[in-house]
């Protein structure tokens, strides 16, 4: 209450100061009334007239109109706050008469008011507020606000904002009634590299826009020039999102490459192991939020091992109880693991509900780095890209350099011979399967940062990830990587051309045809184990 009082005193003081020092014609009671009541056209006219000479009182009035706290009593416009009323123009406190009526603003009026509020932001002290105002005004650029922009331009000191203002000014002038002004504006805009400017100019070229042939010619050259500058950003954007999808795909498929490629187990529950990893991330996030709110940004560091071990434990349990009995019978394994996946999905529904659960990005993973005007690389996707290569490197080291890896390879190549040499094959099977499951958990942890976490998380990836393994060729990791990245990029390239669904269908058709030609995948295994 006290704070509120202080606030209003402050506002009054500031407005009084600007009254004395600033503008020649400040907001008068009469203007305030013309803005608040009457026909919409008149109100808008009054508003834009007042905008040529903005002051604090006007800002206060616009705010009040926007949050419906302005009332009209007779000739006076009153702003009501917590039951206290002040005069719109002078800021003097007054009592609220019982006859006061609400000011009603329809959508059109509201838009005008929003625009006016944004325009006022151009004169704010804060740099970010001015920047926001420019961004907001882009959507409602019309010639009426031109004098305001000119004044802001004269006052602006920051070079970057000045350039933005120039562009905004040009955008307003493109629709001017004066041909020369239009031509100048197009010339000014042609140097931009913003996608929004391109669509603005493109819009002028459409029917109902520009009619003058000279201006039209200038417009189309400008559009071409901007497009030339944008095209690389777009291309790189497609390639990046392709790589990002590809990195997710190969992270998902990496676990499968171990369980299927090395062990010959068709694990249809792989997607559900991912889901377990994602839910583990969710639980770690909740634990951090509750017990270590200060370290919340680093929950993901703890979630990575947790999701690995959660999924690996479930995987080891599955191997011991079900999959162990089905080695060498891939079709039966397929059905049994499908059954497991159904049970896991239903279990998650029982415990966490059928709805998606919210997993928040830590603050250092939200946002992105702006590489070009139309190319922003989100941090979480970059992180996943690196993470998947990190996992790949670790798995490769594990398989090719450690004793466990040696045993896994040995069992894969010749089970009975490995057993004869003293390898505990049953134990190795469990470890290898748990490793594959754990990698699935890591994939789930990564996915929780870019997508929804829910019981159906894994279902959407199972067909894709099998395609990656099949395409890459069974039994080694390199094929999985190439196939995953290749499919991701191919998918995104096609998406730009045909739309998401058709792109997916084309990719699937491509894989089916490819498998016809090379049943062993891109990298066929050579040697003794190939025909096993």
């Amino acid at each position: 209450m006290l704070r509120h009082l202080l606030n209003s005193v402050l506002v009054a003081a500031v407005s009084a100061a600007s009254f004395v020092s600033g503008s020649a014609i400040a907001l008068t009671s009469d203007t305030a009334k013309r803005i608040a009541v009457g026909e919409n056209d008149d109100r808008i006219k009054a508003l834009s007239d007042a905008l040529t000479n903005p002051d604090e009182a006007l800002a206060r009035l616009i705010d009040a109109l926007l949050d419906d706290s302005a009332k009209v009593a007779g000739d006076a416009v009153l702003l009501v706050n917590n039951g206290k009323a002040i005069h719109a123009a002078t800021g003097a406190a007054t009592t609220l008469p019982a006859t006061a009526e609400d000011v009603v603003n329809n959508n059109r009026m509201r838009n005008e008011l929003e625009g006016a509020k944004a325009a006022l932001g151009l004169f704010s002290e804060s740099l970010t507020k001015r920047n926001n105002a420019i961004v907001q005004l882009k959507d409602s650029a019309d010639e009426g606000k031109l004098p305001l922009i000119d004044r802001a331009l004269a006052k602006e000191t920051d070079a970057g904002l000045k350039a933005k203002l120039e562009q905004l000014r040009a955008a307003m002038l493109v629709a001017s009634s004066d041909k020369q002004k239009r031509l100048d504006a197009v010339a000014a805009l042609a140097s931009s590299s913003q996608p929004s400017v391109r669509s603005l100019l493109q819009e002028r070229l459409n029917a109902g826009g520009e009619t003058d042939p000279d201006v039209r010619a200038a417009l189309s050259t400008a559009v071409k020039a901007i497009e030339g500058r944008l095209v690389w950003g777009e291309r790189l954007g497609v390639i990046f999102s392709g790589l990002s999808l590809g990195s997710i795909l190969f992270l998902v498929a990496l676990g499968l490459a171990i369980t299927y490629g090395l062990m010959g187990v068709i694990n249809m529950a792989h997607g559900e192991l991912m889901m377990i990893g994602a839910y583990a991330t969710y639980l770690v996030q909740n634990a951090f939020r509750q017990h270590l709110p200060n370290a919340f940004d680093f929950y993901i560091i703890a979630a990575i091992p947790m999701s690995f071990f959660a999924a690996a434990l479930v995987g080891a349990a599955l191997e011991r109880t079900v999959i162990r009995w089905l080695y060498g019978r891939p079709l039966e394994t397929l059905l049994a693991t499908w059954g497991i996946s159904l049970v896991l999905i239903q279990t998650m529904r029982t415990f966490f509900g059928a709805q998606n659960v919210p997993v928040e990005n830590p603050s250092w993973l939200s946002g992105g780095v702006q590489v070009m005007s139309n190319l922003i690389l989100p941090y979480n996707r970059i992180a996943i890209l690196f993470f998947s290569f990190f996992v790949l490197a670790t798995v490769w080291l594990l398989i090719s350099k450690t004793r466990l890896g040696l045993f896994v390879r040995g069992v894969t190549q010749n089970r009975s011979m490995a057993a004869c040499m003293g390898v505990n094959t049953a134990k190795i099977d469990t470890y290898a399967f748990a490793l594959g499951a754990g990698i699935a958990g890591l994939a789930g942890c990564a996915l929780s940062q870019v997508g929804n976490v829910g019981p159906d998380l894994g279902q959407g990836y199972i067909v894709d990830s099998f395609m990656v393994v099949v395409l890459g060729g069974v039994g080694q990791l390199a094929g999985t990587v190439y196939a995953g990245l290749g499919l991701g990029v191919l998918n995104k390239l096609l998406e730009g051309w045909t739309g998401a669904v058709l792109a997916k269908i084309i990719v699937l058709a491509f894989i089916v045809i490819f498998i016809q030609r090379r049943p062993q995948g891109i990298f066929a295994l050579k040697g003794r184990s190939a025909e096993a």
Partner: protein, 380 residues
């Protein structure tokens, strides 16, 4: 494939296709279908204990459609050793072919009172697209019910079998096929009603579909077609052609070395199996009253495999028993304990593969052998 399945089927081929007991059983089934169901549903009054409700009739009809699918799956999986995870696609294609005809039968009674199906009006199409040209004619659509799944299966199978894709690879590719088709049918532009598919059917051959007599007719028809397919499968399995199929299942390389071109054997039974599924889909749609791309989801196809596995692969009665058992359980569970249905289904997948490789029929045979021969312990 494991040897126990092999031994269970070899001694089935007798000189005559069906023994006396089998003929009597078959006659009894036909009698139940043609006499008992119509009488108990239409003649017996609704408050009688013996009254068969409309719900039961349509459930029975639906499950018999599933049984046809399971039988088709058994021919290709149980007898030829090729697991298809895409049979739901053929089922849905047959259903869509029937659905197109039913949509045109609605006539001008749709929401928009147009000659075109409602969803086309909604998409602002002015005339039917090319693949709907024959949809006014019952004969054309019934031809498509078998032709579309048949041709698709033939073309797909030709390329797959020619490059010797088998085992799990084949299963995964069929799954990708049905998944891709589901995505395709989800699109409105494909011209099959998108997400919603076809529904709100009014009549079939000019006769309203929402009557008891229509429901009973369709149910009995489905049952009779199931019987025909059963006898046909029996004949196929007992023939020399059927023996070659089983040989392919057990040792394909040896069959190849003996001089058989397995491509044509596999391709023909694969195509036949797809066509049977198409017929099942066509019978399913008017009884259930809806067809949508959900039928093409990988889960729907894999369920067909579990009906077959639960009942007992490589026996012809097994898939039918399995379809009745699993779907009966499903309709009971989803009413009584909806949240436990997936647990039950999942447990069934696991239990059947681990403990009952020959399904219910195998279990019954084992138990009856034990009963008949109590001195011998366990199964042979």
């Amino acid at each position: 494939m494991n040897t126990s399945i092999m031994s269970s089927t070899v001694n089935q081929s007798t000189a005559t296709l069906l023994g006396t007991r089998a003929r009597m059983a078959l006659a009894a089934v036909i009698a139940i279908l043609v006499l008992v169901i119509p009488i108990f549903n239409l003649v017996v009054p609704a408050d009688s204990v013996f009254h068969l409700s409309d719900y039961a009739v349509s459930l029975l009809g639906k499950i018999m459609c599933y049984a046809i699918c399971a039988l088709a799956m058994d021919l290709i999986w149980g007898y030829t050793g090729i697991l298809s995870l895409g049979h739901g696609l053929f089922f849905a294609l047959g259903g869509y072919a029937m659905g197109m005809y039913l949509m045109r039968q609605i006539g001008r009674e749709g929401v928009y009172k147009s000659d075109l199906p409602d969803f086309m009006v909604f998409l602002d199409w002015k005339e039917v697209p090319w693949h709907w040209l024959g949809s006014q004619s019952f004969v054309v659509q019934m031809f498509l019910v078998v032709a579309v799944p048949g041709v698709l299966a033939f073309v797909f199978g030709y390329f797959a079998f020619r490059s010797r894709i088998k085992g799990v690879y084949f299963s995964i590719i069929t799954q990708a096929l049905t998944y891709a088709s589901m995505l395709l049918f989800f699109r409105n532009e494909t011209g099959f009603g998108g997400n919603n598919g076809f529904t709100d059917f009014k009549r079939l051959l000019g006769i309203p579909t929402a009557t008891s007599s229509m429901r009973v007719t369709l149910c009995v028809l489905t049952g009779l077609i199931l019987v025909v397919f059963y006898v046909m499968s029996k004949a196929i399995i007992a023939s020399k052609y059927g023996r070659v199929l089983q040989a392919i299942r057990d040792a394909e390389s040896r069959v190849l070395f003996t001089g058989y071109n397995t491509l044509w054997y596999k391709l023909s039974i694969w195509t036949l199996s797809a066509m049977m599924c198409g017929v099942a889909g066509a019978l399913y749609v008017p009884q259930v009253g809806i067809i949508n791309p959900g039928e093409m989801s990988p889960a729907a196809s894999i369920e067909i495999a579990i009906w077959t596995a639960v009942g007992g692969r490589a026996t012809l009665i097994g898939p039918i028993v399995g379809a009745f058992f699993v779907n009966g359980a499903k309709s009971w569970f989803t009413v009584t304990f909806p949240e436990y249905w997936l647990y039950f289904l999942g447990a069934m997948f696991i239990a059947v593969t681990l403990f009952l490789p020959q399904g219910i029929v195998g279990l019954v045979r084992k138990l009856s052998a034990k009963y008949a021969n109590p001195t011998k312990r366990g199964a042979p």
